[in-house]
Symmetry: D2
Subunit: 381 residues, 4 copies
């Protein structure tokens, strides 16, 4: 038995005040397969170095910008094995392109890019490069999301007829972006966020999870977008009808002005004989209801689950796993894929790990929602 | 102190196999203000008599049909004080008209009639008669619905921005109407149910409760209707966007093919600073969430509630009241109104008791949903 | 098909300020089998008459005291069929004895009497009279309590090994009895309540339900009693270990100083292969957990329930029934028994309806808890 | 700003089949302050090496036993900064003593030792050494446990009157120890587990958390122990009354034969004006109930929490943290303490991190429970 060395990761973004950068660091390293060794943490060289110290990496590898990092790391014999992108959305494409250009695999925060056109460009570049590309749709890493997906794939509920997806937050109920709040500021700035506000930030998660769990694809959408907080420059609330490729229909709603909600992502899928319900804020339980029997609660790590769900359990049933652990599953799968790719496997990404195809669909979702909203009616996906 | 005699009630419907008739009997009598004394329980004279025996009334007052009941009771000195209509929808109008004609006040199951046109006719007749008319939108009788309504009226959440209403059942997931199931049969038969399937049966409840709690009115609607079960003759699933008269928007969904759901009526209303959530299946709790403080659970009959909510509590906090008790509140309010009316009050119905205006709006809702669905877009309400 | 007339009930207690009297009236009449026709509602003749008016009965039948009621009603051809006792505990025995003496069946609020010695005397009188005697341990009327009982009886969980029963309230956290609070005053007064405070008021419910659901009997108890609020004259908090007749053990706790709790009666029973949990504040659900399968929630009125549970359902699954409906089940069963008794059945009481045996055990429970507490150790039951 | 190098950790235990060893590795490294560099993972040299490969450490540092590890690491300039003990209980003391002897700080899984006498010996050795010693009572690391502790310390509920603690699992409902199940085998073997079965494995957690949250100390205990599964050699079920140093009383129950329960640790603490409830399986919520106001749910990472609770939050409110993150908080605090100790602070352990005092009390708890059980009554603590 031979264990490989840890894979070396370079992080773009994650400087002081960032939320998601440190999360990527924890998630990437959690299963002991990856270590953060380099970063371009901030556009300010000084703050990048400061972040490097805090992350405990070699000060020489805290770079002033991603270009510098890619150039320098490419020359090292112990250079990074892959790059992680956690910048505001408008930088996703240039960083990814530069990395791919330098033959460095990419793990990217979602959404894949800032616009649909960019996503198509990125998809072409990924395909051309032949390099592994992963997209951190975090919720796809939860054990009970895997269980839900496995149950749908196994046809446990008969044909799926109806879906109800929602992702409600309340934290943008006030115009935080005018108060110096860093997270609110870039998310509501079209130049950095792209065309989507709430639909880009959280709607894409809901959309992805719907397709991921159901195994279906959205084929048409009828959406209505609103900007509820006066002065805000992007949408903060969206309601949509969706039609799936098997004829099922339902709703997909997201909001960042649902005052009082924290991070209420909830997914319900109804089939002919039963249904499932999963909530991100109660992630270790999957609620299963039947037409003719008692309601069930399936618990993470329990012996009766599918092998897909058990494969991602780290601790016994009754010991809650959370957001970071879900995140880390994606990194574990990416690490496996990267290892396989280094071993010559040209198609190493597992179906469970979101990649560029999911990225393009997510950007298409934003574009289609905006189009539907402006037409006030259904549009084909 | 003088207590009046119990008010005498005559029931139309409620024969063998009926669900809602016996419920009306229990609800009407629960607070000791009303007694069932007469009925036209079935269109079969024999079955009507049989039901009368079961209900424990004088056999002479178990009539073969409503016309006979109205005629006979009108001649008695101890005749009925009001009539209750619990038939399939297509009979609501003729029974109500006959009663009003005979100067008999009416308490009716919802929806008010089978079509919007009928509702307008009924509204005219009610107005002309000057008689009390009540509509049993049961959920309006729950204490915590009253509390939710009071909180909205008091502006506790600031301006309302967003609503999310759903009423999901699963019992029609199979074509029960083809199996001799009485409840399923008339509900899916346009001749008896009217133009609406699920939207008439339960959508009208959701619509009513939205306006009842929020204090707002729906001004536009964009709905998509489906008949999911092959061969069914009316809709069994509906998703809609709604726009309220203050600019708030949201979703209203109902379904009778949401396999595994029992009677999942859930109402969420989001304002600028907080939100509320109420579920019919957990009716003694009102969940209140704030932008800047802990989530709260308000319990029925607790001392901190509004006087509106406390007015309808019968037992101390922690002793659950349910569907029948909510139903009975409407009857208690109707009994009070009827008593006041007998005393000469020409406008005795309280704002908390749904009446003909709610009835007309409910039928308008059905009609507008169908219109929106056929146009595939928004329609004014 | 012949339906009998309604049974006539006379109520002792239930005057102004009473909580449980009106509850008995609603519960008794709810299923249309019983009507309140007479009462000795208060020890003040004037207040008794006032209550009579409020209850809508013939003023001549609102008596000044129970002796008068029994005497007068016994002479009427339309006299009461049974008497209901809802007084403070110290009157339970004399009222019951007087009724039995006059050949009037008895339905009594719990506990059966004020002391164990009284309970034995009452048991003797009941046996001697041969009359039906029922005891309103309300929670025994809930559908899901019936389901829990049926599951235990059917051995669904294998041998029962462990029980955990608790009944927590917080309303006596302050010395309410010193503030003129009527309910608090008599409950904490040994002259009216008997030897037990919280253990009599709610501990007896917990004890009864444990035996009722499990089908087992308590054979030994080790209890510790406290009076937490200074100056209070009876216990307000109790923790106990219990040993059952099959060797199972567990805890039984009750408190009226558990600040913040409303009416938290919760029962858990663990067997070899699974367990059940029922909470009075969420009464329409029974939680069932298995050693090797998903957790289940069984819903009231669902088709998969036992016939015992379905026998007491009035409305379809998803329509909550509550405290009053549970109470009414006991009255319905008492009405059936009384009818059978009038027809000559000398042993008409069903096993599901608590009676004098449960009453004696409940009083024995109070006596044994006090004995164990004073001995600071186990006592045989 | 200078960031120190990561602290180097050596692990004892954690070989193939172990549950808790890998958990310690993840938890220790999660916050980027610690790295696993050495281990004596198994008593089989070969399996130890195998585990070392799996953990990705230098093969030369996967030792055949702890003595060897301590000897070898002590000679390295880059030797381990501290040792982590995750063996069965009987090895806790010898490993700890050997480490302390070699001036190596210790982080130990609980319970501290196998017997109370051993704990006293360990306490003496820790004191004599002056070295940091931490004990991983994991649940102490949860944010909402910190919040609960802060609320009690701040007197939010007035004087504490009543406690109710339980820790129920069901996984030992069958004699797993006879089937080759490694976890079950050592836990039910007195030679490896010590005198306590369930009370040692999980009862000590419940006991610790009670004192940790309430800020009170147990002063007397009355416990009843059982071995429910025939043939088992240690207790698998325990019920106890506890008396606290302020006069509060309550129950502490633990079981590993509560069939159907996963890892149900639940803590309720009642004061004069309100109460709190925390469940390990729903760890991001703290339920707070008041005598005179709505029930509240306090959410992890919300702005209204105490600074103690916010100090341990890594992700925004609504993003669940779980068992591993709680565990990692203890390691983060230990890393801080170790760093401070290296800087000369002789008393660096924070009050929030369980240490040898908690370890001794835990072992005292086991010993007192056994004593109380044999005496069948109260014993002083």
């Amino acid at each position: 038995m031979t264990e490989r060395r840890k894979l070396r990761m370079g992080l773009v973004g994650g400087g002081p005040g960032a939320f998601i950068g440190p999360v990527h660091r924890i998630a990437a390293e959690l299963d002991g397969r990856i270590e953060l060794v380099a970063g371009a943490f901030s556009q300010s060289p000084e703050r990048s170095r400061e972040a490097g110290v805090k992350f405990g990496i070699d000060p020489a590898r805290a770079y002033a910008n991603y270009q510098e990092m890619i150039a320098a790391e490419s020359k090292r014999t112990d250079g990074i094995d892959f790059i992680v992108i956690t910048t505001p959305n408008h930088l996703h494409l240039p960083v990814a392109l530069a990395a791919l250009e330098a033959a460095i695999p990419v793990m990217s925060d979602k959404p894949a890019t800032a616009t649909y056109e960019e996503a198509l460009a990125l998809e072409a570049a990924v395909k051309k490069s032949g390099l592994p590309y992963g997209l951190t749709h975090t919720y796809a890493g939860y054990a009970m999301v895997r269980e839900a997906r496995a149950m749908c794939a196994a046809g446990k509920f008969g044909a799926i007829r109806k879906v109800a997806v929602e992702y409600f937050q309340g934290w943008l109920s006030k115009p935080l972006e005018t108060t110096g709040h860093k997270q609110a500021a870039w998310r509501s700035d079209p130049a950095r966020s792209g065309k989507g506000g709430a639909i880009g930030d959280i709607g894409t998660h809901a959309f992805h999870l719907l397709e991921y769990i159901s195994g279906l694809e959205v084929t048409a959408i009828n959406a209505t977008l609103r900007t509820v907080v006066p002065g805000r420059r992007l949408d903060d609330d969206c309601n949509a009808f969706v039609r799936m490729n098997n004829g099922a229909e339902g709703t997909l709603a997201c909001s960042q002005v649902a005052a009082g909600e924290l991070n209420e992502m909830r997914m319900r899928i109804y089939g002919e004989t039963g249904s499932l319900e999963w909530r991100q804020q109660d992630p270790n339980r999957l609620i299963v209801k039947w037409l003719d029997g008692p309601e069930e609660i399936h618990h993470a790590a329990a012996g009766y689950l599918s092998k897909d769900a058990l494969a991602v359990a780290r601790v016994p049933s009754g010991h809650p796993e959370g957001y970071l652990e879900a995140f880390a599953i994606l990194y574990r799968e990416f690490a496996d894929a990267l290892t396989a790719w280094k071993d010559g496997n040209r198609n190493p990404l597992p179906a469970t790990l979101p990649g560029i195809v999911a990225g393009v669909r997510g950007m298409r979702f934003i574009e289609r929602v905006i189009e539907s909203n402006s037409r006030e009616g259904w549009v084909e996906f």
